[in-house]
Amino acid sequence: MIKIASDLGRSRVRLIVNEMSNAYVSAYKEIPADAATRDDSHKPYEDFIIDSSPIESLCGRRFVRGETADYHKGVTVTADNQGRKFEQEATFVNMAAALAESIIRNSDKYPPLNPQVKLGLCIPCAEFFSDGASQMKKTLAGSYIVTFPITGMSVAFKLQESDIAITPEGVVALYALPKADRVSATKGKLAMILDCGYGSLDITLLRNGLPIGDTARSFPVGGITLEAMLSSELERSGVFASTEFVRTVLYTGALNHGNELLDVSETVNTCKVRFAKMLVQRAKSVLIEAGLNYTEVSAICPIGRCFNKAANEGIVSLVSLVAQEWGCDLDLIDISYNDDLEFANVRGVAAAM
């Protein structure tokens, strides 16, 4: 049986297969099924046709992503942060491709045709603690055939509902912690998980180590909001930057303007302060809705790339800014193995499934 843990984010798909992690961009472009195939591509799995899927509307459609998408005309599609995960076509396109690629990359260990697949994935807490898990299982279960035109290889597999494990984003990341650490970090406390993805912020409360499911909330705020803030600030200075460029500036605090090198740490910090206030405002609204006072929260667990440390020491950590804005002391539940919070959820899924 091949075990595949996944976290389908709005910006990236993260996978752990056989203890190996992998991530790639989750946006894709739909192209005609008979479009020419690049035969010089070094990325053979970026071009795929879903020949068969439990979702009939996807059958026969061809998609490209990443570098390969630059060579094709088509409509770029990505998940949005409004609809639920199991209602979005992008979720299932990415999942079909991720499963097929994982199987083919491990074809030395598993048969490429009809291997038994055990799939783990995570969905927003608010969906998990309602009916999202059962809906996701029902939609995913069934038979798939995916073809990679660049190599001409096809992968066929079947997903059984009983082989699909659904977990809640954010909370599941705690499961990757050693048990003793998790218990000690949360026991006797009201803790808050802030899972800030690219398109949405998921907030979940834990009391005495267990999630209070009906308090979980999702907001359409995320890394994209921070990027937009910085992009806007840069435009005020006459710098019109691509998304990739803005991400680099967020990480480095430096602007390569022609041959002139500018330190824009202060601008980045200003945006991060505004963003931290926004996160805390949403977090406090969750507490108010749950009939709790924010002073009762004694521990916080940040998850997501937004909370990673930056390269430039002049850039203030978003974790610190959130804690400062919170207004009272908080313990930090740190699950940032090697400072990388991007894989926190998928690590938890791999541990739990």
């Binding site: 494990a165 026991k187 480095t252 430096a254 313990d331 930090l332 740190d334």
Partner: protein, 101 residues
């Protein structure tokens, strides 16, 4: 210790690794992290030379000892890392059942 990070394409890496005075240059995947003490000017000059030749391919963050406008607030305490916390009872058995469907 000051620090700056360089994102250098693979085809230019040798220009750094062969340098006579690399101080401490560590290859971390596609990113070089150059940490320097007094040799800031040397490394910066080298990078600017690269920029002049390959302006599109080198990202060079500014490396000045940036005045931080915000104090880093030491609000977070008691980081719950790991290790020597004694293993606790079985009270997390409920946890997995609550997060797995």
């Amino acid at each position: 210790m000051l620090r700056f990070d360089l994102e250098i394409p693979k085809n230019l890496e040798h220009l750094f690794s062969d340098n006579d005075n690399p101080q401490s240059v560590v290859l971390d995947a596609l990113r070089f992290k150059a940490q320097y003490g007094d040799s800031l000017q040397d490394i910066k000059s080298m990078c600017l030379e690269l920029l002049a030749r390959e302006p599109e391919s080198v990202q060079l963050p500014a490396a000045k000892p940036a005045p931080v406008i915000l104090p880093t607030p030491p609000v977070i305490e008691n980081v719950a890392y790991a290790s020597d916390v004694p293993s606790n009872e079985d009270d997390d058995d409920d946890f997995l059942s609550m997060i797995l469907k």
